[in-house]
Symmetry: C2
């Protein structure tokens, strides 16, 4: 948990503070001092009277009577007694433990960590760490590393599962001019993990006062539900969140495992979780800090951009990268084209990119930006490219860009590439609180990642026509392992998923009666073996009673077969829906076309249960084989609405039947009118 | 063209040089002076005695008797007389014209440019520009822009189709520590374009002396054959080439068109050209300069990397990015694992990434690097991540990395992320001539782009069993437009492409005779209409004479049908091969599976004719549907060798029949034994 003592302490004691700034306790104290902490600062160091000019106390008992926050930089075995005494005698309710030697070190350390947590929780206190680099807030800089970012209540809130990675992310962030409102490194997360920090951000959010930019570096998501809940809540409140979840590939997961002892989660579950929450997923530090830089500007409320440049090549590369990533650089035509051309020197181009040429003036630049902002409804933001060839200073242009950025309703993203030859001008520009994007393609990739991240999914679960009571009853009585066809059908029926008309026959008499009821053509399948096709246990398109009886005789001779399933034969295209339970994440649901598309091409898309109609539709549409569903080149498509609905229904079923660890509806047969499940496998584990 | 006077002049005159360094003529003169040009430098300026301390001459006639290189910074209309006089009276054979006002300005300027070119070519001279920012070589810095790169004979050779983009690329290159051996900005390319610069680099290449790193920024490839020839030749000699070709997307092409008046080439042709040449394609300035930075290190001769890090998170992100891009971080096991672990402190990991922990020393780091270099045959290169948390200096570690980089046979790539808190140490490291990669993922993406670029394709054209004489004869006599089936077959036969057994029937009698010869089942297709299926002109799998005759009667009633094509019915999987002629590039050849894969999913891959077997195989293998060709999940595959061979044969056919502007073999029917073309359309334009 987090509390006010942790975030905004009036008094801090650094237990183990020293003069040696090459040691964590010394460096942390220095950072707090350099950061200008306004409250009471004290140090416990039995060997000194003062360290770094701050009065030392020999023991906890000697301290003033009230200490809000204690930062511990002492050997692991001394931490628990210190915490207990501080909690008891100094009413301390917030603790940051940077010391290592806890659970990351083995069973004894884990035991010590458990005791540490208990000592803090006994007084309902907040604990950060152990084994972390600390944290900082606008009140104090409680980290023992460099660099220390500039603090700003409107800067980024940043939580990291790795201390060194947090340091390196700051190394990438600071030269860009990013500021920070807070940084929390959770270390071993004994009490407070990444999810709890998000929870605090969410619950303490004050519109207009809290920072709207949240950054996350995470190696192990322990509580996906909590992360989803608070991330999407924050985004709905107006925040923007970017995160790195590392450990994607097999090799990367090995690296994670060796690093934190954490078991990495399957990546498709992570991807699905982030999409559901609306988190912009990043894969490296530069990418994260570039996305954070974009977050510092007003939100782009649409896909259409105007590029205003005085250099052609950069404009072309930018256009390529934006268009390739799904943003538009719409051609400017008609009156707007002529109006813009009128502002500019002869030879300029107004077709978008708007090329004001090397001879374009600051005034012309300003007029064009303003025109795009006020006169062009189909433009949602502007990107300005303005560098220097070194012939003249560009202060006037940068002053104009600054001014227009402040005036415009739409976002204006500045690309100032001349970081060497116009260094002074760029610094002048940054001193107005702006962030520069020196490379157009790097900016374009950040903009397109943001654009491709959906809004958080609605939380409501679709239950129309779904009999949750019935689902629970079936699951309660179901045995473990693969369910029999009748139980499969009961579950699918309870979820409102259309299933093929069918029946079970254990004798010739039952078989012929069923055939009469269902009508030819029929499909015949053995009951018993899990991989029916492999044992010759599936015959399709049986058109006569003679054929039916001969197949029945044959199938009854297959080992383990006592009865057969008789189904009305369906015609159409094969579809697939499946799901797998990922521990802690819940069900990852896959969909795709059946047959070769799933088997050989692996063309599936996925989402995390429960799914909304919007999510399911976006899954279906992101299939490579979507043109087949839509219908193309004169071929009839498949009923997309019904497919989406079945995916949603299955996801609700799973939401209320987490005992189902695997489910395959394969195939469903679909045409333009209907989609019907003709075979399924469900495995239950309780 | 380029010549020695241009590259290594003993004397230079700046025509239009001045004291005003905010003007091109003044700034260019200053850059030459600052660059320490060792030869004779003079200026023509009628109004001054000296400018910037250099003696001025009023006219060309006043100059010393021999001038190697003239750089013109005067109004366009004065350039031609100046060039003529210099060429005639001062034996000048090299000219750089930075002045604008030529072909980019309209028809009059184009005329002036033609005269300029003629004046230079009349004396067999070299001309760079007009409308460029100049050029620089190790001898002189003849550009009028900032920044001016550090010159180094082993640095990058760089040619750019855009002056401002060259400037911005330098802005990205210089902070990385990249040096340059030459820069040529071709401007309007009146005489010397990008292709001619490559030609010069190729023809003047001296092993061990010339730079091995070539960078290209190009908006318009005018002579793809020339670019291909010299780029692949340079790469075969040991060079490494990276290039940006901008103007990819429709919007990007509009930007190019408005910028240079150049018609952008179709991007798939560019992609195919670059792959054929072995050029690493980049899409932005940061990417280009990062790839160039990698080029400064020894070549990675394999796909296996060891990551040696003292910070887990950065190692995980790096592993994710490398693995995702096709490079391997193989698990280290057995003896090597134990040996490395023995070097390190307890708690370290040797499984790759090798995590030496924050407590790892410089000495341990050096031992691990050396172990990977000398003891591990399955490791082809090492990446070292070493930053600072700000607690202590890291000079010793950086000295060790420097030392090992010099000693190791394998490449060692340094990731030093702490550019702020270890700024002095990083600068110390860079001062040894190294290049740092501050972000691990940015490095990983450059390494994987390089890894994914194939070696230059062989130049030999496959002609075995191809009757070039016959091809030329057929084409010579062929009319324009779509060819008839018989002519199609003659061409395919001449190329050795298997075609279905078939015949043409114009009467019932001919039809039955053909049926007897070919044997049932048969396919019947109308001759005449281009889109046969659309008019009901294709019937497959005809098994009896009655059916054959009834279909024949029906088809003869279709408008425009006078005869039918009778084919032996083939069974197997549908394949597709097509080609389109791209002006200047030649034929772009596409391949893929037939049916839905091409029609709805657009799953094709492409290459530029003529193709080698290796290229064609890589095209086939890069299809998403390749598993179908290979055979998967118990389903029989298609004969890949035969498919590859037909693609190569078609590419040779097209190489000798450039009059073919479009060709579709659709479908070919393939199985594990054979692949046979059953339908084709060929369009000729002469």
């Amino acid at each position: 948990m987090m509390n006010e003592s942790l975030l905004n302490p009036q008094s801090i004691v650094v237990v183990g503070g020293s003069d040696d700034i090459s040691k964590p306790g010394g460096k942390l104290l220095k950072n707090i001092l350099d950061g200008g902490f306004q409250g009471e600062l004290s140090v416990i160091n039995p060997k000194k009277e003062t360290v770094q000019g701050i009065r030392c106390f020999k023991t906890v008992a000697d301290l003033p009577e009230k200490i809000d926050l204690a930062i511990l930089a002492i050997a692991a075995q001394h931490c628990v007694p210190a915490v207990k005494e501080l909690a008891k005698t100094k009413s301390t309710r917030a603790f940051i433990v940077i010391s290592a030697g806890f659970s990351e070190d083995g069973p004894e350390g884990a035991q010590l960590e458990e005791e540490l947590k208990k000592a803090v929780e006994d007084v309902d206190g907040a604990l950060i760490g152990p084994n972390c680099i600390g944290m900082l807030t606008p009140t104090y800089s409680g980290i023992f590393t460099s660099p220390v970012p500039k603090l700003d209540p409107k800067g980024c809130d940043f939580v990291s599962g790795s201390g060194s990675t947090a340091v390196f992310i700051l190394e990438s962030a600071l030269p860009k001019g990013l500021t920070f409102s807070s940084l929390v490194t959770v270390g071993n997360s004994a009490q407070t993990g990444i999810e709890e920090v998000l929870e605090y951000w969410d619950e303490s959010y004050i519109p207009g006062k809290s920072s709207n930019i949240k950054l996350i570096y995470v190696e192990n998501i322990k509580n996906p539900d909590k992360l989803l809940k608070h991330a999407s809540s924050l985004i709905r409140k107006g925040c923007r969140i970017a995160a790195i979840k590392s450990g994607i590939t097999d090799a990367g997961q090995r690296a994670t495992a060796s690093h934190t002892g954490a078991l990495a989660s399957s990546d498709s579950a992570v991807e699905a979780l982030f999409r559901k929450a609306g988190i912009v997923r990043c894969f490296g530090r530069e990418e994260l800090t570039t996305v954070a830089s974009v977050f510092n500007y007003p939100k782009l409320e649409g896909k259409n951009l105007a590029i205003i440049t005085h250099a052609g090549g950069a404009g072309v590369m930018l256009t390529d990268a934006l268009s390739g990533g799904g943003l538009n650089i719409p051609a400017i035509e008609g009156k707007a084209h002529d109006d813009i051309l009128n502002i500019l020197n002869p030879g300029s181009s107004a077709s978008n990119p708007i090329d004001i040429l090397a001879t374009g003036t600051a005034e012309q630049l300003g007029q064009v930006i303003e025109y795009c902002d006020t006169q062009m409804d189909n433009i949602h933001g502007m990107i300005v490219i303005f560098g220097s060839t070194g012939l003249s200073r560009v202060f006037d242009a940068y002053e104009m860009i600054d001014q227009k950025m402040k005036q415009c309703r739409k976002p204006v993203f500045p690309i100032l590439p001349s970081i060497s030859s116009a260094r002074e001008e760029v610094e002048f520009f940054l001193s107005h609180g702006h962030i520069n994007f020196p490379d157009e393609v790097v900016l374009a990739r950040a903009l397109t990642s943001i654009n491709q991240t959906p809004a958080p999914a609605e939380e409501e679960i679709f239950t129309e026509g779904i009999d949750i009571q019935a689902i629970r009853t079936v699951i309660k009585h179901a045995p473990e392992g693969f369910l029999d066809p009748a139980t499969n059908n009961e579950l699918l029926e309870a979820a409102g998923i259309p299933i093929v008309e069918e029946g079970i026959a254990t004798s010739k008499k039952e078989l012929t009666a069923l055939a009469q009821r269902l009508g030819f053509p029929l499909a015949l399948k053995v009951i018993g073996p899990v991989h029916k096709s492999d044992v010759g246990g599936v015959t399709l398109n049986i058109k006569s009673e003679t054929h039916l009886l001969s197949e029945y005789r044959r199938m009854r001779k297959i080992k383990g077969v006592k009865s057969v399933l008789v189904q009305k034969m369906q015609t159409g295209t094969e579809l697939f829906i499946g799901a797998k339970y990922e521990p802690t994440f819940g069900h990852v649901i896959l969909c795709g076309l059946g047959g070769i598309f799933v088997e050989s091409l692996g063309d599936t898309s996925y989402g995390l249960a429960p799914l909304t109609f919007e999510e399911a539709r976006s899954m279906v549409r992101s299939l490579k084989a979507y043109p087949v569903i839509k219908g193309a080149r004169g071929k009839e498509g498949i009923n997309e609405d019904k497919y989406v609905e079945i995916i949603v229904r299955l996801s609700t079923l799973l939401r209320y039947a987490t005992e189902i660890k695997e489910i395959d509806l394969n195939p469903l047969i679909g045409n333009k009118d209907e989609i019907i499940a003709v075979d399924g496998r469900i495995r239950v584990e309780k």
